[in-house]
Amino acid sequence: MTSEVIASTSSKARQLNAEEIAEIEHEMTLYPDKKAVGLEALKIVQKHQGWVSDESLLGIAKYLDLPAADLEGVATFFNLVFRQPVGDNVILFCDSVSCWIMGCENMKSHIKDTLGIDYGETTEDGKFTLIPVPCLGDCDRAPVMMVGEELHRNLTPDSIDEIVKNVRSK
């Protein structure tokens, strides 16, 4: 075991804030046990903190009385739970088959050339993180990608530039 892992498991749990707790408590009314709320809590914390740090994960485990290792197993299984910091805007880039046929590789190259990031990387200004995502289910308007909660269709290099410009100017 590396010293980093030991450090992370021994680090202190973060006290969840009141908003996070209120939302987690609401989820508790929808499911018959706490384990089911674990994933919901991870998503809630991520919504508020941007990502799920070790301290947050331990905080959730403590609050829900779940084994931290179990919760970590869940957190690392699901690709929309971010266990590393991400930029302000996560680009979920569809690279599945219909988008591939319609030229998504050129779009990805364009993102790489203009934003300077590959999969799993964040721009230096912290504005964008690029992540591949399985088929986004909008294949008749491929290629597509999501930026935050917005879905963008029929991508071209020009439309990508426009999307980036709009997000940056917000």
């Binding site: 994933l39 869940v74 088959v97 219909s98 294949c139 491929a142």
Partner: protein, 426 residues
Amino acid sequence: MVSNPLTKNIDMSRGPLDIAGYESADGYQSLKTIAKGLNSVDVLQQVKDSGLKGRGGAGFPTGLKWSFVPSGDGAPVQKYLVVNADEMEPGTFKDRLLMEGDPHLLIEGMVIAAFTIQASKAYIFLRGEYVVAEKALKHAIAEAEAKGYLGKDILGTGFDLDIVVHTSAGRYICGEETALLNALEGKRANPRAKPPFPQVSGLWGKPTIVNNVETICNLPGIITYGVDWYHGLTKGSDHGTKLFGISGKVKTPGCWELPLGLPIRQVIEEYGGGMQDGLELRAFLPGGGSTDFMLPEHLDIALDYDEVAKVGSRLATGTMIILDDKTCPVGMIGNLMKFFAHESCGFCTPCRDGLPWVDTIFRELEAGRGSEKDLQILHEHVDYLGPGRTFCALAPGAAAPLGSGLKIFKEDFERHISGKCCPYKK
């Protein structure tokens, strides 16, 4: 009579109908029909008689699936209905349309399904990226609750139902029904051993039915307009209408509700507008990424579950992916293999180790470093990843385009090796 029961209220140039608009278009009529005196046995019989088959991919008869749920005095009190709205099959974009376009139809169908199996709680397992659908569904559920179509003693039937929208956090494997149940329970989404089947022991060990969005959306029409009407919809041997989609380089890709049984040619040419100028149809996957390739010689086959199965493929999700003659088939299959390798849950060895090996070989072929030995290994994996070798249907799904593609595109594979590059790259 209504000929497009799934999409009659959908107009994507506006938002979905609100509950008043939905009610005035025969919405929630089926619940009133049930409230007038149908019991769960009656409804089950109607769904069985309708011949409805599951629209999620497997095509299993819906009524038969429901009939496995224990009922009567000895049956568990708590049962669950789960709607599989985790649409992630490559090239599939139909459930999104239904949920964004007419969320009340799904909710009405869910009440019918839950009433039939007597489940008082239902979850919609929605993929997290479908944020528009999430908002539409939550809004529609609140409207339906306010009108008494959900909640306690629905329309005086004594039947209670609560619906929860659960948004997932990614992973294709969650579309496998037992993996989905584990995810809903807050566990890693590895599939479960079957038996026991979810109908007997599913969510939190209780009897559970998992149905696809489109399957559920068929139910209101069957109850409101009747089984005879439903049987009149089809042009083929399977009953009802279905959402069919086309993606790839056709002139007008899209998703349409059509009767089952139309010739494939008609759908591609009339609805898809035919191939883009300068391109020929090379092959197509008839129902998403987990199906066997079909060829131009199959264009006169009817889009029916059984007819497509006769030529060795599957209708599956009904969303076709078109391969044209200027796109590399090896690259296309390689893209699919990368997807399946990435989405393997890692539980069983053939899938966890086999798919990344296959993916690696495709990368080598693409880079011009492939060998005859690699082709041999790919052929072996069609068997290793096939049905019966793995814990769930993910790897057999990957083996479908791989196995059929190795046969159909043999020459293309050979050219990648002999030419030491992808011959489609200029």
